[in-house]
């Protein structure tokens, strides 16, 4: 039983990080009906922004909450700017083109960031500096909770609550929901469509940047292709939860994280990636629009 709980806790921690990335996929899809393939590479850039900011600001010399928050801020701001530029210069000019053009552009941006990253940072993995001394794990019954793991979880939850607050309690969030419902009607309310779309990209990218840092702390080896599998699984989590639905993305990500931890714990970690897609297939068989997704009938 304690073993199961241990796996469960590990899984929830992993799921929380998936959720941070899945939220960006689902928000952009909600507002543009676009699968932003470059999103997983924004997450990778977040890890590198964290690496370089901690090198240049000397954050690794004095590990602690302060250093962690500083690195988080750098990665989130950096990624928000990257997200803004991707939307502004790659997607916005194609706003009126067929969807397939935008999709291909998204794949192109993704490859550009991955291999541009290899050129810039080098293809070999880099060691991510420990920004936080995890010290002795907390003992709870027979369960061990690593302090770092707890911190990662707390940071993810705080960020997700922050996002929820923005989406459901602020004027900008209301504008985002209105635009994702209908661009034309939102414009009739006086909502600036392009600015709202930019904001959505920036928020999603900032969360992906935070995920980059948190993953760097947990698995301290980062490389320019780290986003490929991890990002793909976060995307699967968003689809499982019902793409376009913010709560669904978090639920999908938690399912994905817990299932993965259980497979690693009881079976073999080789199957962890296959599992994500097995879950996807099973859930879509029963709920084609995802767990919280709604089947919207095309209006005639």
């Amino acid at each position: 039983m304690t073993e199961f709980l241990q796996h469960l806790i590990n899984g929830i921690g992993l799921g929380a990080i998936y959720a941070l990335i899945a939220l960006g996929y689902t928000m952009v899809f909600g507002i543009l009906q676009l699968i932003n393939f470059a999103h997983s590479d924004v997450y990778m850039l977040g890890a590198f922004f964290g690496l370089y900011s901690s090198r240049w600001l000397g954050l690794a010399d004095k590990p602690g909450i302060g250093s962690l928050l500083a690195a988080l801020a750098c990665a989130m701001i950096g990624c928000a700017l990257v997200g803004f530029c991707i939307e502004r210069f790659a997607y916005r000019p194609l706003r009126k083109s067929p969807r397939i053009n935008v999709l291909i552009t998204a794949v192109g941006i993704s490859l550009f960031l991955e291999f541009g990253g290899q050129l810039l940072f080098g293809a070999d993995p880099k060691y991510f500096p420990p920004l936080f001394e995890s010290g002795q794990p907390i003992q709870l019954g027979g369960i061990q909770i690593n302090r770092l793991q707890l911190l990662v979880f707390v940071v993810s939850v705080v960020l997700m609550l922050g996002l929820r607050f923005i989406i459901f309690r602020t004027k900008a969030g209301r504008a985002m929901r209105a635009v994702s419902y209908s661009h034309a009607t939102a414009a009739l309310m006086g909502i600036p469509i392009d600015r709202t779309i930019s904001l959505t990209f920036m928020l999603g990218s900032a969360l992906a940047g935070a995920a980059g840092i948190l993953v760097g702390l947990t698995y301290p080896k980062i490389d320019p292709l780290m986003g490929v599998m991890f990002g793909l699984k976060a995307f699967v989590a968003a689809v499982v939860g019902g793409i376009g639905n913010v709560t669904g993305a978090v639920i999908g990500a938690l399912i994905m994280g817990v299932a993965e931890a259980l497979v690693i714990g009881y079976w073999a970690s080789t199957y962890r990636d296959a599992l994500a897609f097995a879950i996807l297939i099973v859930i879509l068989l029963f709920r084609p629009a995802g767990i919280l997704g709604e089947n919207v009938a095309e209006k005639v």
Partner: protein, 238 residues
């Protein structure tokens, strides 16, 4: 006489190869209700969309308070005082009634005046107040129409563009909604009303235009049109 509030001068609109508006000219006087009537496909909704910036025009000009406004972005037109309750109501079904109404006031800077305006909308439509925390998608058709009008009013428009407010509603509800349109107009808001139900529209409007396949085929004070033999035959089913 002062310049008209809204004016169309020889406006043409194309949807691809389709020539939807073929040189339409008219003007809406401050404080009046102008009705656009005509059959399906005559270009009534297209005219409204051209006025609110949802559609580009291919020739001619649209003027608001004497300024040329065609080509201006829809959200800028809202801040100038043009509010459009679109066909099919266009409410945000995934948001509450309250959220829908406050979105109507999205651009307003006078925050303190928004709450009293909300009360004013609730006075016009008490039903909306009862349903304030409900998701707008769960409202009945009539309530959704009330919400669309109320939301448009929250922008404090100089002109309110209404597209088929009677569409798909029961007669008693239509009557109620038209009473409110008149009330809104009496408080000083100019109204441009598109309506397939010509009789209803002519009864409330001061002035009316009859459109047919993208052209104005008749216009005049609505009382005159109501009396005209031809109009009665073609549009009022006499």
């Amino acid at each position: 006489m002062s310049a008209p509030l809204l004016e169309f001068r020889d406006v043409n609109v194309h949807y691809g190869a389709i020539h939807a508006l073929k040189g339409i000219s008219f003007s809406v006087e401050q404080g009046k209700i102008l009705a656009l009537v005509g059959a399906n496909g005559a270009g009534k909704s297209t005219t409204l969309r051209a006025a609110s910036g949802m559609l580009p025009i291919s020739k001619g000009g649209v003027y608001f308070e004497g300024r040329k406004i065609d080509g201006t972005r829809a959200d800028r037109l809202v801040s100038m005082g043009i509010s459009h309750a679109p066909e099919g109501r266009g409410i945000f079904a995934n948001m509450t009634v309250e959220e829908n109404l406050t979105l109507g006031a999205f651009l307003r800077k006078d925050k303190s005046a928004i709450a009293p305006d909300l009360e004013r909308v609730f006075e016009l439509f008490p039903r909306l107040k009862e349903r304030i925390w409900q998701n707008a998608g769960t409202l009945s058709g009539g309530e959704q129409q009330m919400l669309a009008i109320g939301r448009a009013l929250m922008a404090r428009p100089k002109i309110l563009l209404l597209d088929e407010p009677s569409l798909g509603l029961a007669p008693q509800i239509i009557e109620k909604i038209f009473e409110i349109i008149v009330k809104v107009n009496e408080t000083g808001t100019t109204v441009l009303l598109v309506e397939q139900n010509a009789l209803l529209a002519l009864e409330v409007a001061h002035y009316a235009l009859v459109l047919e396949t993208g052209k104005v085929v008749a216009q005049g004070p609505s009382r005159k049109l109501l009396e005209s033999e031809e109009i009665r035959k073609a549009y009022l089913g006499d």
